[in-house]
């Protein structure tokens, strides 16, 4: 591969005022769609298609990729400040990002989020560039058997994120799995656990469940604590606090790199979804931490890992989308359609026939993530001030945004009733000190695990466990369990508060 199209594309991108202007317009739009609960990158792309129709291919593609690439950078904002995930993949950030904000370190959490998102986006773009020569065998190596064991690997992280409450974590994780089975069974088409309620045939939505288990309890706790304001510490909300969070990403640079590679790898595989990437990275951070008991209470690594994975996933997902015409995620489905509208024909010949366009899109991911971090750094201190209002002013809007998030995620009004019921359960978990992250892992990975198992049995029978990719993943599962057992047998260190 020559360096001509590689460097030429970068120079072309940075020297074209139109492309720069399009990226600067796309970045706040993408972040805004990510920040408003329930909207997300997919809707942003859908609404942007009419605007790019008629544009030349490169400007249109740059606008769309720049917008979509920074959605999760914006999604971390409400996750940290309000405990409301912008979308499903942002839910993992809530686990430690919101506790950091509640103990007065919102600036630090936002700083870590923006730096991790930027790093993840850049690493995802590099991942995309490096894998171009070997993309086909890698992307096509994953099938239902590998999907199944990948889901099981994610589920083994339930033990890791349960901390000292392993029994409770397993129960909560299993409850999440069971609730993921509510709805129409995907293979036989039979309604399960719907109690004859038509609405439940579509299942309990991930957004509804996550908002109920995380956001509702935190909101109720704010109103019952008796305090007038969301806690904050003087001196922790300015630029210095944001930069401290940025420094945290450098301190945990190897975790950032590993999480980014996890996100990119998962993005590379069509059909896995962004939720898998962020939770897998979060679980990996817990398993590899020397003091895992800090997670769920405001460990900065709990913000860094999922946010790096969320943004790096876009680079990985772009790979099968561009070179096979196989969308790497649901957002890529829309992006693929938009590319066709622009006259771009994804496929194996793209690198041979349009190397300039390919490298321009890769550099767009890099530049847009860096620019988004700068935008975030400038706006960050004002975003932090947004939560320093009285609880009485803040809480009703948090509730309204939560309800709007459920509606915007495509759920009917019945989902609001489910939200309340699960919110009661979630508050009980919080008050009784039951871990809640395992629930999210269960409800996210349950459908993938079940469908993959049935498909694997149908295609290969029980021998699916002997596929090479499956064996590698089984080894990873065994290693994760071994680490968890060894950690459980080790004498406990004192709780090491991240602050």
């Amino acid at each position: 591969m020559t360096t001509g199209p590689v460097l030429g594309s970068l120079l072309g991108l940075l020297s074209d005022p139109l492309l720069i202007a399009l990226m600067l317009a796309a970045i706040p739009l993408g972040m805004a769609f990510g920040a408003i609960p329930g909207l997300g990158g997919k809707l942003a792309l859908v609404l942007a298609i009419p605007f790019v129709f008629g544009m030349d291919p490169i400007p249109g593609a740059v606008f769309l990729v720049a917008m979509h690439g920074v959605v999760h950078t914006g999604g971390a904002i409400p996750s940290i400040l309000l405990g409301i995930p912008g979308s499903g993949p942002d839910a993992a950030t809530v686990c430690d990002g919101h506790p950091l904000a509640l103990r007065g370190e919102a600036g630090r959490a936002l700083g870590a989020s923006l730096a991790a998102s930027a790093a993840g986006g850049v690493i995802g773009a590099v991942f995309l560039a490096v894998l171009i020569p070997i993309v086909q065998p890698v992307a096509l190596a994953f099938g239902p058997a590998e999907f199944f064991f990948l889901a099981v690997l994610g589920i083994t992280f339930i033990g890791a994120v349960s901390g000292d409450n392993l029994l409770k974590g397993l129960i909560v994780g299993s409850l999440g799995l069971m609730l993921s089975f509510v709805g129409t069974e995907p293979l036989a088409g039979i309604a399960r656990f719907t109690m004859g309620v038509t609405f439940l045939q579509d299942g309990v939505g991930v957004i509804t469940a996550v908002l109920a288990i995380f956001t509702i309890p935190e909101t109720i706790a704010l109103t019952t604590s008796g305090g007038g304001h969301v806690p904050h510490r003087p001196g922790t909300t300015g630029t210095a606090s944001l930069l401290r969070g940025v420094a945290d990403v450098w301190t945990h640079r190897w975790l950032t790199l590993r999480s980014s590679l996890i996100g990119s790898g998962i993005g590379l595989v069509p059909g896995l979804g962004g939720d898998v990437g962020s939770w897998t990275a979060y679980g990996h951070a817990v398993v590899t931490s020397r003091s895992p008991e800090r997670f769920g209470k405001g460990a900065i690594e709990g913000v860094i890992a999922p946010d790096a994975a969320n943004n790096s996933k876009e680079g990985g997902a772009l790979l099968p989308t561009l070179f096979f015409g196989i969308p790497g995620s649901s957002g890529m489905v829309v992006l693929l359609g938009a590319f066709v509208v622009l006259g771009i024909q994804p496929g194996p010949a793209m690198l041979r026939d349009q190397p300039g366009l390919v490298w321009t899109l890769i550099w767009t991911l890099v530049v847009s993530n860096v620019l988004a971090a700068l935008v975030f750094l400038v706006l960050g201190r004002w975003l932090v001030k947004a939560i320093q209002v009285r609880v009485g002013v803040l809480v009703p809007f948090v509730i309204l945004l939560t309800l709007l998030g459920v509606q915007a995620a495509g759920q009917s009004w019945h989902a609001l009733v489910v939200l309340f019921a699960l919110g009661l359960l979630g508050y009980g978990f919080k008050r009784a000190d039951w871990p809640r992250a395992p629930f999210a892992i269960g409800i996210v990975l349950g459908p993938l695990m079940e469908i993959s198992l049935h498909q694997s049995l149908a295609i290969w029978g029980p021998s699916f466990i002997l596929r090479p990719g499956a064996l590698v993943l089984q080894a990873a599962i065994a290693a994760t369990i071994a680490v968890a057992i060894r950690r459980a047998r080790r004498p406990h260190k004192g709780s090491n508060d991240a602050a």
């Binding site: 399960r192 009703p396 709007l404 939200l419």
Partner: protein
């Protein structure tokens, strides 16, 4: 301790009910729910038994009491949350959301009238202007509105 027992028992009942229902499904449909649910029900029963034993042995404790802080009743907060959701379901996000914010800020969280009215206005802008007009999302109009059509 009572809370621990209540949560454990709730999860046990829910899990047990789902396992019981799963046994009525055809084999391929009930496989994975039973593989997950049966061990989980056993674990939940073990957890519930342990919680009951600890409750019988020790004094009640509240995991999150902050000594010296004024506390609003939890039941009142959930009642207001239920009322908020009911209002939105009844008259929709645009009208119901604005009214719910007004009532919640004024009568639940004791903000002054100007703050509550301003809050309701912002809620209207967010729901109608941002979500419906700018983003083109059609928000739920409310059961009462739909019944009147």
């Amino acid at each position: 301790m009572r809370l621990e027992v209540a949560v454990s028992l709730s999860v046990l009942v829910l899990m047990g009910a789902m396992v019981a229902v799963a046994t009525t499904y055809p084999a391929e449909v009930r496989l994975v729910p039973l593989v997950v649910g049966l061990p989980a029900t056993v674990l939940a029963a073990w957890q519930t038994a342990g919680a009951m034993r600890r409750a019988a042995d020790g004094p009640p404790r509240d995991a999150e009491r902050e000594p010296g802080s004024e506390r609003r009743p939890i039941a009142k907060s959930f009642a207001w949350l239920a009322a908020f959701i009911t209002l939105v379901i009844a008259v929709g996000f645009v009208a119901g959301g604005a009214v719910a914010v007004l009532l919640a800020q004024r009568f639940w969280l004791r903000e002054r009238w100007p703050v509550a009215v301003a809050g309701a206005s912002v809620a209207f802008v967010v729901s109608y202007v941002v979500f419906e007009r700018m983003l083109g999302l059609v928000l739920f109009r409310g059961l009462l509105v739909e019944a009147l059509r």
